[in-house]
């Protein structure tokens, strides 16, 4: 029964880590694309759509990610569509990320002084030219650090996908701990692996933040 060596534990956890990374990437890339789209819609469209997207953001920021995962898993099944844990976790995390990212980016675009819009507008630039050549280059600089910082939230958020049976790092940890009866050792390893993933990202975000502050003096 107890013939699991530390290496066996780690090896199995590392295998599962792949799925944590994969799910994080799906959520981050999917959330990024969708967040960008929502941002564009929000800036272009009228009051009504702006409010609808605002509500969407509030909904996802105001409910636990765990509930969102449950709802995605069991809710879609209620509609008669068979969903795998993979699909449900990807959908929930993508929607969750898109809500946060669109809000982070909206704040960054809003922080660009009004004079930049007025100057570029009075030079006869169209909305998309203003965005592409004047507003976004400045907003992206401001947005990079908080965006990378949010990636850490996504990585940790994927742990919750274990509750709907998605075998990523946390789920693998509890399975191995059930088999080995060494929960402390196993979950210490799990925590260390999350840290090994998140810490470099945090450092990178800090580094970016410092760089921007130096640029702005």
């Amino acid at each position: 029964m107890n013939d699991f060596s530390l290496w066996d534990i780690l090896r199995n956890l590392l295998m599962a880590l792949r799925w944590t990374v994969a799910l994080s990437l799906i959520a981050f890339v999917g959330g990024g694309v969708m967040g960008g789209l929502l941002l564009f819609l929000r800036m272009r469209a009228g009051k009504w759509l702006d409010r609808a997207i605002g509500t969407y953001v509030q909904l996802f920021q105001g409910t636990p990610l765990l509930m969102q995962l449950f709802l995605a898993y069991f809710g879609i099944a209620l509609l008669g569509i068979e969903v795998s844990a993979w699909t449900a976790a990807s959908v929930a995390l993508t929607l969750y990320s898109s809500a946060y990212l669109t809000e982070i980016w909206r704040g960054c675009v809003a922080s660009i002084p009004k004079g930049q819009w007025e100057a570029s507008g009075s030079l006869a630039l169209s909305f998309s030219e203003q965005m592409r050549h004047v507003i976004l280059p400045q907003a992206v600089k401001i947005a990079t650090a908080p965006t990378v910082g949010f990636l850490v939230q996504v990585v940790k958020g994927t742990a919750l996908a274990s509750v709907i049976g998605f075998v990523e790092l946390t789920k693998a940890g509890s399975m191995i701990s059930n088999a080995t009866f060494k929960p402390f050792v196993v979950f210490s390893c799990v925590a260390l692996l999350y840290f090994a993933l998140c810490f470099p990202i945090s450092l990178y975000a800090k580094h970016l933040e410092r760089k921007i502050n130096v640029d702005r003096r």
């Binding site: 007025e118 100057a119 009075s122 030079l123 909305f127 050549h133």
Partner: protein, 261 residues
């Protein structure tokens, strides 16, 4: 949609002295607060107009209506016979190519070099080739005395230099009318002169200028006509010599004497 653009054929060849900006019965309000209460104004090509008045009199708002930065509710406005139509992006783009604007806060694009600041709009809007745009930007920067700053970033320049770049940037679109919104108000006193000298040279070359200004001596020297605005109306208007030495209304008298305190 397209009729508006077609009726006014290529029209940069308006004779000097012909009306270029026409404003009729223009009214603008923010909610229930009416800030422009019926403005009628015709500006002739080559004319230099100084708009003076207390803060809150509507002078900046009037200026900003002319290139569509502010939306007005009633009345009409046209530049070079092109009517201002807020709903039509095409018409706005047409009109804004004829009207340049310089701001109190310079509003240079901080992420672009001085040269790129000047070149951006001509390359995007007028589809100039980059060699053409570079040559034009160099010429314009030389004209405002900043030829050697082509590759500098805006934050490396003094306020006066930044404002001169902003003038070059506006001129790059070859506008028929230039709007100046308190362009020296954010400058240290010793930097005001270099900017005003550039504006004066533009006036001498026949550029149509509308400027909101607190520099009364400059308005007097360069202006063809002075407009005194009070409570959202053109309260008094005339040649500078008359307006400044022989004010007719008590409001203008009070305004002018308050400047001498």
């Amino acid at each position: 949609m397209s009729t508006a653009a077609e009726t006014s054929a290529p029209s940069s060849h308006v004779a000097p002295g012909a009306p270029i900006v026409q404003i009729t019965a223009l009214r603008k309000s923010y909610g229930t607060n009416e800030v422009l209460k019926g403005i009628d104004l015709t500006v002739k090509r080559g004319e230099v107009i100084a708009i003076i008045g207390k803060s809150g009199s509507g002078k900046s708002t009037l200026l900003r209506c002319i290139n569509g930065l502010e939306v007005f509710q009633e009345g009409s406005l046209s530049v070079d016979n092109k009517p201002l139509l807020h709903e039509s992006a095409m018409a706005m783009r047409e009109l804004r190519q004829r009207v340049g604007m310089i701001f109190q806060g310079f509003n240079l694009f901080p992420h672009l070099t001085v040269g790129k600041n000047v070149m951006l709009a001509p390359t995007l809007v007028k589809k100039r080739s980059s060699t053409e745009a570079v040559a034009q930007a160099q010429k314009l920067l030389a004209r405002v005395g900043l030829a050697e700053k082509f590759d500098a970033m805006p934050d490396q320049l003094s306020g006066g230099q930044q404002q001169r770049v902003a003038i070059a940037r506006a001129l790059a679109m070859e506008p028929a009318v230039l709007l100046c919104d308190e362009i020296t108000s954010a400058l240290d006193p010793e930097l005001v002169g270099e900017v005003l000298r550039v504006v004066e040279s533009l006036a001498d070359e026949g550029m149509t200028l509308l400027m909101v200004t607190h520099e009364m001596s400059f308005a007097r020297k360069v202006g063809d006509r002075v407009i005194f605005m009070h409570q959202g109306r053109v309260h008094e208007m005339g040649p500078p010599a008359e307006v400044f030495s022989n004010p007719q209304t008590p409001e203008l008298k009070q305004f002018l004497s308050s400047l001498n305190d």
